[in-house]
């Protein structure tokens, strides 16, 4: 994130809150269809609202907070999978969505991941906190099932349509795999968040190491992919420090145990 080089995370958090409140005042948290707005306006509002949610979560991850709005009662849908040219001012009713990738692909993928987690946690009457992967108080196997549902959904909705010749498709594919690997690693290595030194079994350690290596590999692939050169400024923020740390810390554990 560019502005993080220059500005404090907390002040950015507040400024974004300002933008969110204003968006709420304009009713952007409600779907345009409920409000009876035109298709053009509906899609515009959806795109901006979801981008705000996405940034809010990113800032939250960096500031260690979960934004409150994420689990609140709003119903704006994720933007339709269309191109801008599919819309015009006389269109009545929802536009026909494309089946494959569009220029909105990357944004839709990020919003989909957010929305999916939101829905799962709402159904469970729980709260989607950004540290859910480390939340050991959740029912056993629940976190793993969330990840497998996510993976399945990503395959079905996005990865199967990815065309390796298109930059955005490659970005979505690699990002999706990176994301899943990251989730798996964090679930396995809950002590990264909880700060307690857990008794981690040997098979666990291997699994964690494999997951962290996967994470790092995907990140390297994203950063070095020549077709994604234009987006490198944005993608360098995706580095997973947890993956790096996991790889470094475990050899130490094995050392101390053997002594």
């Amino acid at each position: 994130m560019a502005s993080l080089d220059r500005l404090s995370t907390h002040s950015l958090w507040s400024i974004l809150g300002l933008a969110m409140r204003s968006a709420e005042k304009l009713g952007m948290h409600r779907d345009g269809v409920t409000l009876g707005l035109s298709t053009v306006e509906t899609e515009d509002r959806r795109r901006v609202w979801w981008q705000l949610q996405h940034i809010d979560l990113c800032l939250g991850v960096l500031a260690g907070l979960t934004p409150m709005t994420l689990m609140a009662d709003w119903d704006a849908k994720i933007p339709s999978n269309i191109e801008d040219d599919d819309l015009n001012s006389v269109l009545v009713g929802p536009p026909t969505e494309h089946v494959g990738s569009t220029s909105l692909w990357y944004c839709r993928y990020t919003y989909w991941v957010l929305d999916h987690q939101r829905k799962i946690f709402q159904a469970e009457q729980g709260r989607f906190a950004l540290t859910w992967q480390a939340n050991t108080s959740l029912a056993p196997g629940f976190r793993e099932s969330v990840i497998s549902q996510l993976e399945k959904g990503l395959n079905q909705n996005f990865i199967q349509y990815c065309d390796p010749l298109k930059p955005m498709d490659i970005l979505v594919q690699l990002s999706a795999r990176f994301l899943v690997a990251g989730f798996q690693m964090r679930v396995l290595h809950a002590s990264v968040f909880s700060g307690e030194k857990q008794n981690v079994k040997e098979e666990h350690r291997t699994a964690i190491r494999d997951a962290s290596v996967q994470c790092l590999k995907y990140h390297i692939a994203i950063i070095t992919q020549p077709i994604l050169e234009n987006f490198r400024w944005y993608l360098r923020g995706m580095f997973s420090w947890h993956a790096c740390k996991s790889n470094i810390s475990y050899p130490e554990d094995r050392w101390s145990k053997s002594f």
């Binding site: 994130m1 502005s3 400024i15 709420e24 009713g27 901006v48 400024w233 944005y234």
Partner: protein, 299 residues
């Protein structure tokens, strides 16, 4: 042709009318006839009140519980009571079943949109009733109150109507409108910045329509036209320039703009902040300012 006031069905439902012919709401609800009033709402209220009296009912009795209203064919809680149904009004009547009382709505006030979670449950309806009762009473007493009722006061929440300055307005906003982009960047550089935005930023952000960006681009590249950009448009354009500079690799920035990247970045950072402060940032009415904040905050 665009009209200044909302069309009759939209005014009745008190929703935002885009004032086209026909407007988008009327096009959606095919039953409505999108007609624009030739007579002011104030006169209309007086005529309806007179008619109510002629029919033997009392315009003072305006309070009708909302669940009764739902079964009656009235168009708004603040107009004539259910008992004395006005025949002319029935021609364009719409049942409340169509507008369920819990439905959210986007209203318009002085050209600015705002959202209400539930229109009918608005607690300030009581104030509106009281105001109309007072006028009817004065009419009965023969006191001719010629003070025009603006469409706003006859139907809106008084707390939203109050014309007060915004919070922190002694520090934020209020500066004279000035073109921050008067001379810099040159058309050639401006064009390069927009190209960068389209190539490196918009595919990841996707918050604007291509045609809107093209239009704004044309108006901000041209030295003459950019003098006429509004404060909100300037804020957005500055944020576009800021994020575009950031997305450039150092060498490309140096070769395209002949300026080292940190310097250019700092310049646009300051410019963007200045532009944002000139919009009413504590009372944002335009989506474009929200988009500007998105580009400023994150990228």
């Amino acid at each position: 042709m665009t009209h200044r006031e909302a069309c009759e069905p939209c005014a009745r439902r008190k929703v935002r009318c885009d004032k086209q012919e026909p407007c988008s709401n009327c096009r959606r609800r095919k039953k409505d006839r999108c007609i624009y009033p030739a007579v002011s709402p104030a006169d209309r209220i007086k005529r309806l009140e007179a008619l109510v009296r002629k029919l033997g009912a009392d315009p003072n009795e305006l309070h009708v519980p909302s669940n009764e209203l739902r079964s009656e064919h009235t168009s708004s809680p603040a107009s004539t009571p259910a008992g004395a149904s006005v025949e002319q009004d029935r021609q364009h009547a719409v049942t409340f079943l169509e507008i369920r009382s819990k439905d959210p709505v986007v209203l318009e006030e002085n050209g600015q949109p705002f959202y209400l979670e539930s229109y009918v449950q608005n607690p300030y309806e009581a104030v509106v009733h009281a105001e109309l009762c007072r006028r009817a009473w004065q009419g009965w007493l023969g006191i001719n109150n010629n003070e025009g009722v603006s469409e706003a006061t006859s139907s809106r929440n008084p707390f939203l109507l109050r014309d007060r300055p915004h919070a922190l307005s002694s520090i934020i906003g209020g500066q004279a409108a000035v073109s921050l982009l008067a001379r810099e960047p040159s058309p050639q550089y401006a064009d390069a910045l927009w190209n960068t935005y389209r190539l490196r930023v918009e595919p990841l952000v996707r918050i604007s329509y291509r045609w809107a960006l093209d239009q704004l681009r044309a108006r901000s590249v041209d030295v003459e036209q950019r003098q006429h950009l509004s404060a909100t448009e300037q804020a957005f354009v500055c944020s576009v320039y800021l994020i575009s500079v950031h997305s450039l690799p150092d060498e490309e920035c140096q070769s395209t703009f002949d300026v080292p990247k940190p310097m250019l970045l700092n310049h646009y950072h300051v410019l963007c902040e200045e532009a944002l402060m000139r919009t009413n940032i504590l009372c944002i009415a335009d989506i474009m300012v929200i988009k500007a904040i998105i580009l400023y905050t994150v990228y």
